[in-house]
Symmetry: none
Subunit: 401 residues, 2 copies
């Protein structure tokens, strides 16, 4: 239905996602971070916006960041077609464009004793430069196994990506990470008969990695995780007639955006740096600018409400820089809640606001949970946000006469 | 999806249902019963809860008590698999565990003239003890018809239950209740060819009942209603990994709870007695305690707002007794609305609140329609309540990475 209503135009949309921004009032936390933060700019924007709270996946369901972002971009997170494995997301986020038949693996460098027992599943969290150096070493040593091309790339710190490229591969392979130290890595077992060759190739790959890294102090082995193949996700432009640009520093979010067909841009981590990146690419034939702020989630996971408040205030201070770009539509929301009281992602609805000439200002006076509860959008599924974005940007024709 | 996310734990859930508790403001009714009632304990609980209003079946649809309760327990009331006939519900509520092939009938004792014309479809609402006596008399006289076992049991007052047990039975039989006095009872006609034998057996049964009761002054015949077979409802424990206990005085609610696999407990009718029953069975390996309060609905049906207010205040006064049990999750809601202004069930959304450590307190300051409209749950389908119960009790893992 939606597809038939979409028209193209040149209006611009800024889509600002504060990861895990939602919170809850709970014992010891009389206010959420959004309620406690001083946010004059977000508050002014709220009074000019239509507000509400979004449910990322389903009532009571706590989403991971992947499904939560797919929902924000309008892709049903419960549709298996939109289920991207972690290997695919990480490799894509590292800037690698997978072919349909490639198998992608998320690797963790790890430390193993002489007896083959894991002593550190993250290789002492080696610095990023070390990860880059070790990946280069592996890339030089391992290029092909049994006729299958092996591509190795750094992601961040102890995390790296592997792509197997060749015919007859299958992603139906068990992970080798036992999730605990004091154990040996697991065998990359085939889950189906058609995956047996791939299983043998990955087992050989692990052996070759171990041999190549035998002299390393910390990163002397690697765990194979999230073995997966690219899902057939309909590109953003085909779906919405929007050319998307992603300004995100972390691989996972870059990966999801890229899988949806957005262009990726390198950026620093701070809101100031990210907003500056947006400014530098703003305009031209791009329509949709996704900005991802990570630290709201990280501080939520740490239960550090002061830290979370500080990031929110830092974003708030830079909101005028976004408004200066005069976007036709400006959305501020989160992908899910990460209440400091819970130190984890949660199922609670996520504050949402959308500002445009015709958004329909409502009674919400601030950008926070309790004020967004008063908003004109109510409590609604996150996957419908993109429909509102299209409407507010003048891209949806009337349905019926 | 949900099933893959469920983990077991030992947290306790109290699920308090005030039947038909919702109301509407209407001419002559400037406040609903919940708005008019003095409810300091429910109000304090609201300020510590996440609130909202649930839609039992679908917008604008007025539910019966059966579908409304199935929705509360998370079973889609529009799925035919969850469609339990009234015979099945009454017999099950009377404590009888049906086999898959049994046919259950809800019987009404009635009064018939010598000419076979119905003069009272409820046999003058004979007292419960009379119903028990007459059922005993029937049970002694009628044990088998054409090789099919006949089990007769009292339910309440003029209502009783019949189970036919044997091979080749079918529930595809018309009811014999003409719904009006001054008419003869209808023939229990077969709707399909495979039901013809059952039709003959039920016709014989009616004849035997009439003969056995010929000397009775009031209950001298019986109407056959809700002829049905047990639906294949997935048990509560299989579905949620929750062991459920039902504290309900009325057969229908006991029946629905039992069909969902909950254990039934005998209890008095008053909130005080029901809460005391909960206290007496609380703990151990049970997780979910369903309490059903009937009188809010009865007074709503009578249009008696003073009566409805009084029951609500009586429940309110006993809320501390539930809180003393320190449940991890406490839900207070209704199955549907029964506005005094309408003297009937209605389609209006039902006040809902859920209290747990991590519920996310919202701005709702009272437990009533207008304040629940301000809650963080919004207006939502009743069948999603169980997902929220699972989330709040820590029983749902994260979805996706």
């Amino acid at each position: 239905m939606l597809r038939d209503l979409i028209v193209e135009n040149d209006s611009k949309i800024i889509f600002l996602v504060l990861d895990g921004v939602g919170g809850i009032r709970a014992p010891g936390f009389p206010q959420t971070a959004l309620e406690a933060a001083r946010t004059p700019n977000l508050d002014r924007m709220a009074s000019e916006s239509a507000c509400g709270r979004s449910v990322p996946v389903s009532a009571g369901v706590t989403p991971g960041s992947g499904p939560a972002h797919f929902a924000l971009f309008g892709y049903d997170p419960l549709d298996p077609a939109n289920d991207a494995g972690r290997g695919v997301v990480e490799v894509t986020g590292a800037g690698f464009d997978l072919l349909d038949d490639d198998v992608a693996i998320r690797g963790n460098f790890a430390t193993m004793s002489k007896e083959g027992i894991l002593t550190d599943r993250r290789a002492g969290r080696i610095p990023h430069e070390e990860g880059v150096r070790i990946c280069r070493k592996l890339s030089e040593a391992i290029r092909e196994i049994d006729g299958v091309q092996v591509i190795i790339m750094p992601v961040r710190e102890y995390r790296f990506g592997i792509v197997l490229r060749g015919e007859g591969l299958s992603p139906e392979i068990d992970e080798t990470d036992p999730q605990l130290t004091g154990m040996k890595p697991l065998f990359p077992a085939a889950r189906v008969k058609a995956a047996e060759r791939t299983s043998r190739i990955i087992a050989k790959l692990v052996k070759m990695i171990d041999e190549t890294l035998s002299g390393e102090e910390k990163a002397n082995t690697a765990l194979m995780r999230g073995i997966s193949r690219k899902p057939s996700i309909e590109p953003f432009f085909d779906r919405y007639r929007l050319r998307g640009a992603a300004v995100a520093a972390y691989p996972l979010y870059r990966g999801v955006a890229r899988l949806c067909g957005m262009d990726l841009f390198d950026t620093g981590f701070s809101p100031a740096e990210e907003f500056e990146t947006v400014r530098s690419i703003y305009g031209g034939d791009r329509h949709f600018f996704f900005i991802h702020i990570k630290k709201t989630d990280s501080y939520g996971e740490d239960g550090n409400i002061e830290g979370k408040i500080k990031v929110i205030e830092e974003v708030d201070a830079r909101i005028p820089a976004l408004l200066d770009l005069e976007p036709d539509v400006l959305v501020v929301t989160g992908d899910h809640s990460t209440p400091c009281a819970m130190k984890s992602h949660s199922w609670h609805p996520v504050p949402f606001m959308i500002r445009s000439r015709n958004c329909g200002r409502d009674a919400s006076a601030r950008f926070c949970e309790s004020e967004c509860d008063r908003g004109s959008h109510g409590i609604f599924p996150a996957k419908s946000i993109m429909e509102m974005v299209l409407a507010n940007s003048g891209r949806l024709k009337k349905f019926g006469a």
